[in-house]
């Protein structure tokens, strides 16, 4: 009995995985891809990878909050597209890029707030509510864009507009700075403020949280607003990078964001997870995508591989939860 006690104290796989599992998985993946193709480690490729990751990571930061409450947001891709289209139209109308971006982000927040109201006051299940708004926002994007990309000289010849998604600062793509900035802000918000503490409480036991003075409805609305806002920020990067707003931008982006959150060790039941894990989760997905492209794996197989990786992560997580 004493022996068992000792070993328990020294090494617990469950503990280890929940703390460092995602990070170890990322490192193993990087080593593996590097061995298979050296050009993966080319600084240019790595920077490119980070730029690709930034869009998914931003959405995932918002999704982390949502999933911590035990909810889900399927409308993030549609919000990205609709807010991107608004911004593009504003720029074409001659609105300064900076202001157009701000308006786009705020609209994203408003769409998110709408999700929040439906869930908090309408008592709609998050899955259903955001499935409905996913379709509505997507439809609105098609109506607004008349089904065609919004683009023009005012976008493609506009340094300020293009810098957001295409620019470099000290040799590093600008979207990477945005990702890092919002990671820091999201980290502080989740782990250092009362907003974060209430998010965990809400996901852990909503009734106990309410009795302890948490205003559940208000919290839910703010959290979905945050998710909408961050999706719109991602939408700004995408629109700027392509110098056009595509009506079908961001389709299925919610899947990669949810996958990043889950790969990062956050429980879909809510109440448990870390912002750092989600960042790592987004990087894992980025390395997978980039690595498989470098290795010339067909995009059909890529989907299968990604699906398997997510399954393995979830199964490992289940095992740990039981232990």
């Amino acid at each position: 009995m004493d022996n068992q006690t000792e070993t328990k104290r020294h090494f617990s796989f469950g503990d280890f995985y929940s703390k460092l599992g995602p990070l170890v998985a990322l490192i193993v993946l990087i080593v593996l891809v590097s061995i298979l193709n050296f050009s993966f480690l080319d600084p240019l490729n790595l920077l490119n990878l980070l730029r690709q990751v930034s869009i998914n990571a931003l959405i995932a930061f918002g999704m982390e909050f949502v999933i911590l409450t035990g909810g889900i947001d399927l409308s993030v891709g549609s919000i990205l597209a609709l807010s991107g289209a608004f911004t593009a139209q504003l720029v074409l109308m001659g609105v300064p890029s900076f202001i157009a971006f701000l308006i786009g982000m705020v609209t994203g927040g408003i769409f998110g707030a709408l999700n929040g109201v439906l869930i908090a006051y309408g008592k709609a299940a998050p899955f259903i509510a955001t499935l409905a708004t996913q379709t509505i926002f997507r439809g609105a994007t098609y109506v607004f864009t008349k089904g065609n990309p919004i683009t023009g000289a005012k976008m493609s010849n506009n340094f300020g507009f293009q810098f957001f998604g295409q620019g470099y600062l000290f040799g590093i793509p600008f979207p990477v700075y945005i990702m890092v900035l919002f990671y820091i802000l999201a980290f502080i918000l989740l782990h250092r403020t009362t907003f974060g503490r209430k998010t965990y409480a809400l996901g852990g036991n909503p009734r106990a949280a309410f009795v302890a003075g948490v205003k559940n409805n208000k919290m839910i609305i703010w959290i979905y607003t945050l998710a909408g806002f961050l999706s719109a920020v991602a939408g700004m990067i995408l629109t700027s990078r392509l110098a056009s707003a595509q009506p079908d931008a961001g389709v299925a982006y919610e899947m990669d964001a949810i996958a990043a959150v889950v790969l990062g060790g956050t429980s879909l039941a809510g109440g448990k997870g870390k912002m750092f894990g989600t960042l790592i989760g987004a990087l894992i997905i980025g390395v997978l995508n980039n690595g498989m492209n470098l290795l010339g794996i067909s995009s059909f197989y890529q989907q299968i591989v990604k699906g398997i990786v997510i399954l393995v992560a979830v199964l490992l997580d289940r095992k740990q939860a039981k232990a």
Binding site: M1, Q4, T5, K8, R9, I188, R192, T193, T194, R197, K198, Y200, A201, G204, N205, R207, A208, A209, F210, V211, A212, G213, V214, K215, G271, K272
Partner: protein, 494 residues
């Protein structure tokens, strides 16, 4: 059948739960198992029924060394376990719940509802329970569900039945029925292991009693040859003195006053007041509306009319957050679903209502926050390895102390305690009473809702009695008797 457990030990990681346990039961006897929460009773029963592996020791069934690999295997050998916490599917009919995974089938492979119903009804008839078995089990009260649970074990051919706190949710009447059934089972040669916190039941129903403490079996007595004092002494490891501490209240000004609080169809015109330093008990039968009044005061449920005055100022409370700002705290009746976030740490539970007070430059000042938590844990003697332990890992009494710490920490001047000692063992009970004394000495006003009439009479200053949503009267505890309170609680005039 005879079961003999010898030198059983069990540890979860570094936590040694059972050190050396000896326990036996034979057909035709009721063997009571007593012990505080955390003494190891449940672990021992889980080992007996194959839910847990022991680390050491032996289990002999009729003299033969036996080992059950699963709960199902134990059940097939005639050992049935009536759990305290029921795992029912609320939306499913009673009948389906009773036969879950044990459905009887016709020869064509379809479920034989007729036969199942007949068997279920026969078993329920022994308990004098008449119910429509097609209604969802969620419609039943906790007590009724407990009766169903007991009926389930009667359907099996059990030789040994383990009952874990079977009467916790039952009415006097239902308890009477249960005891009749226990006596008849005994006569049929069935052995019963009876786990309870209620001392008087044990003397009424058991033949032998074993007391556990800290993972050890302290003593086994023939019930006839022992007494309450001895058993309590064994349970807590010392003499308890008087069970309820004395009250020496010094009343101050009125802290909370309600005027004609009404929630349509639930309670009507509830007016009362509680002073600084006072413990005002709320008594009444199940469903009298005690908890409902408190939930409305605290802003969990809506009031239709009436006003609330706190500390001389009329206040508007539309949610718990408002109530907390007015320095009201509320320990809810249901600790697990409303009192605690079981997966979160003790610290995160304790500081939740006070968390806004620890914000410095927009962020939580972690050091101040943790100092606050540690101080409260020490003051309320919460027994845990560290403040970072999950709240769910604590025993019932310690969980209750964490909830109390939450509200003491939030600076409550009016503390509403709904069943503060339910599911709490004897030692922790006394600690909670002592703490309530300390709080009222410092000027807190306490409202204590309790179904335990002994507690109401033994540890309060005034007693408010509700009957069908109406306040029948407030009587000084010093002059109240069991009879006078019960008369009011059943709608009679005093």
């Amino acid at each position: 059948m005879e079961i003999d457990m010898q030198h059983i030990s069990k540890a979860f990681g570094p936590n040694v739960v059972l050190k050396d346990v000896n326990f036996s039961v034979k057909g035709g006897e009721v063997h009571a198992l007593m012990g505080e929460n955390g003494a190891g009773k449940s672990t021992m029963m889980n080992i007996l029924t194959g839910l847990l592996e022991p680390n050491g020791g032996s289990i002999k069934v009729d003299g033969k060394e036996t080992h059950f690999a699963s709960a199902l295997e134990a059940e097939q050998h005639g050992i049935s376990f009536i759990h305290q916490e029921m795992n029912n599917f609320g939306e499913m009919p009673i009948l389906d719940n009773m036969f879950l995974n044990k459905e009887i089938k016709t020869r064509f492979g379809f479920i034989d509802n007729v036969k199942m119903k007949a068997i279920a009804q026969k078993s329920l008839a022994k308990l004098d329970v008449k119910l429509d078995l097609n209604q969802p089990i969620g419609n039943l009260s906790v007590g009724q569900q407990q009766m169903i649970e007991i009926a389930k074990s009667l359907m099996t051919d059990a030789k040994i039945i383990i009952m874990d706190e079977p009467t916790a949710a039952l009415t006097e009447n239902e308890i009477g029925k249960l005891f009749d059934v226990i006596k008849s089972l005994k006569a049929q040669g069935v052995g019963i292991i009876y786990i309870s916190h209620r001392m008087e039941e044990l003397f009424e129903i058991s033949d032998r009693v074993t007391v556990m403490r800290d993972g050890l079996t302290i003593n086994t007595y023939n019930t006839k040859e022992t007494n309450v004092k001895q058993i309590v002494h064994d349970m807590v490891g010392r003499d308890m003195g008087d069970f309820y501490p004395d009250r020496h209240p010094k009343f101050g000004k009125v802290m909370l006053e309600t005027n004609k609080l009404t929630r349509e169809g639930v309670f009507k015109d509830i007016s009362f007041s509680v002073r600084s330093g006072e413990i005002l008990a709320f008594s009444g039968l199940m469903g009298a509306g005690r908890t409902e009044v408190m939930r409305a005061i605290f802003g969990i449920d809506k009031l239709d009319s009436g006003t609330i005055t706190v500390n001389g100022k009329q206040v508007k409370i539309s949610n718990p957050s408002d109530a907390i700002k007015d320095n009201i705290g509320f320990l809810t009746e249901d600790r697990k679903s409303e009192g605690l976030i079981l997966d979160d740490s003790i610290a995160d539970n304790i500081d939740l209502p006070s968390i806004e007070g620890f914000v410095k430059h927009g962020m939580i000042d972690r050091k101040a926050d943790r100092d606050f938590v540690n101080l409260l844990m020490k003051r309320l003697t919460v027994k845990a390895n560290s403040a970072e332990d999950e709240a769910g890992s604590l025993s019932g009494g310690n969980q209750q102390k964490v909830v109390l710490a939450k509200w003491v920490g939030s600076g409550s001047q009016v503390l509403i305690l709904d069943e503060p000692t339910r599911g709490v063992d004897v030692g922790a009970k006394r600690e909670i009473y002592d703490l309530m004394n300390e709080l009222t000495d410092r000027g807190t006003a306490i409202i204590m809702v309790s179904s335990d009439l002994d507690e109401v009479l033994g540890f309060s200053d005034n007693i408010a009695v509700l009957y069908e949503g109406k306040l029948m009267g407030v009587v000084p505890t010093a002059t109240a008797t069991q009879e006078s309170v019960m008369t009011l609680a059943t709608g009679g005039e005093n």
